[in-house]
Symmetry: C2
Subunit: 167 residues, 2 copies
DNA sequence: TTAAACTTTCAAAACTTATTGAAAGTTTAT
DNA sequence: ATAAACTTTCAATAAGTTTTGAAAGTTTAA
C-alpha cells in the first residue's frame, strides 16, 4: 500500500466512524485530513482533497472549531485562512470526552433524574420504573465522572494507572 | 409529572440517545419500553405502546436479541412470543461494551494497523501520517483493552477501583 | 393435512440528514 | 470609498435511513 492509498483509506475509515462518536461524515473526514497533514490547509485545499463543496467545508470546519479540535491559523502576507487540527492525541481524546459529556450525558442525566422522581404509588410498574431509571442515572453518572476525571487530570497519570491495573 | 408522562419522556429520551450508541430510534425505544416493564411484552403490546408497525417491531426486536440485550420468553399455554430486556444494568453495560468493541473498535484497529504500516519514504507527510495513525492505534487499543477488562472481570471490582482512584 | 395464529421479509414510501452552489456578507489593501 | 479576495449563509436538492404494510413464511393445534 502506498501513501495515497493509505491516506484515502484512513480518511474513509475515520469518516464512517464519525457518525459513531456523534459527528457527520464530512466533519470527520476533514478532521482526519488535517490530523495527518504536517502543514495547515486552506479551505480550498480541503475542498479539493475531499471533493466537497465550499459551503459544506465552511460549515464543518466551523463545527470542528466549535468542538475545539481544529484551529484557525494564518500565514504572514496571506489573506486566506488556514486550518490545522489538534495533533496531540491525549488532548484530542480529552476534548472529545468533554464535548460528549456536555452535549449528551448531562442532558440525559437531567431527564433521568426528573423522571425517576415521580411519586411512588406502590404499583409494580411504577416501582419498576423508578428502580430502573435510578439505576440508569447511577450508571450514566459514574461513566460521566470517570470521563471528567480523565479530562481534568493529567490524562497520562490516569492512563498509566489504568494500564497497571489492567496488565 | 405522572407515570404516563414520565414513561413517555424516558422512552423518548432513550430513543434519541440511541443514535449515539449506534442503534436506531425504534430499536432504542423498544429497549426502553422493555427495560421498564415489570412483565414481558408481546409484539402486539410493543406496537401499540410505541405506535410502530409490525414489520418495524419485528426487525428491531430481532436486532436487540442479536445485541444480546433482549430475550424471547414464552408463556405457558400461549402461542405468542413475549419479550423482556436485560434488567441488570451492569450486564447491560457489559453487553453494549462488548458489542461496540466487536462492531467498531476491532475493525478500526485493523485499518489503523494496516495504514500505519506503509513504508517510510522519509518525506514529512509520510512521517506525519505514520506517527499520527500509530498514535491513534495506541489510543483505540488502550480504550478497547480498558473496556474489555471491564467486560470480562466482575465489573464491580473495577468500578470500585475506579471510584477509589477518582475520589 | 389443514387452517388459524403468529412472525418475518422486502419493495415502496416517508422521513431525516447532508450537500450543493449561488448570493450575501465580510475583510483587507490601495 | 472601492474592489478584490475570501468566507458564510441558506433554500433547494440529493442522498441516506427508517418505516410501513401486505405477502410470504412458519409453527402449532386439532
Amino acid at each position: 500500500m502506498n501513501y495515497k492509498e493509505a491516506k484515502d483509506k484512513f480518511i474513509q475509515t475515520w469518516g464512517s466512524l464519525g457518525t459513531l462518536w456523534g459527528i457527520n461524515k464530512a466533519m470527520a473526514q476533514i478532521h482526519a485530513l488535517l490530523f495527518i497533514s504536517p502543514e495547515p490547509l486552506s479551505m480550498e485545499d480541503v475542498m479539493e482533497e475531499l471533493h466537497i463543496s465550499r459551503g459544506n467545508t465552511s460549515m464543518n470546519l466551523r463545527q470542528l472549531i466549535d468542538w475545539g479540535i481544529v484551529y484557525k491559523t494564518s500565514k504572514v502576507g496571506e489573506r486566506k485562512e488556514y486550518f490545522t487540527s489538534e495533533k496531540d492525541i491525549n488532548e484530542l481524546a480529552k476534548q472529545i470526552a468533554r464535548e460528549r459529556s456536555r452535549r449528551e450525558i448531562q442532558p440525559t442525566l437531567k431527564v433521568l433524574k426528573e423522571v425517576s422522581s415521580i411519586e411512588d404509588d406502590g404499583t409494580d410498574k411504577v416501582k419498576e420504573f423508578i428502580k430502573q431509571t435510578k439505576a440508569l442515572h447511577e450508571l450514566a453518572s459514574t461513566a460521566d465522572s470517570i470521563m471528567n476525571r480523565v479530562v481534568n487530570q493529567e490524562s497520562n497519570w490516569l492512563t498509566k494507572t489504568f494500564m497497571k491495573l489492567l496488565k
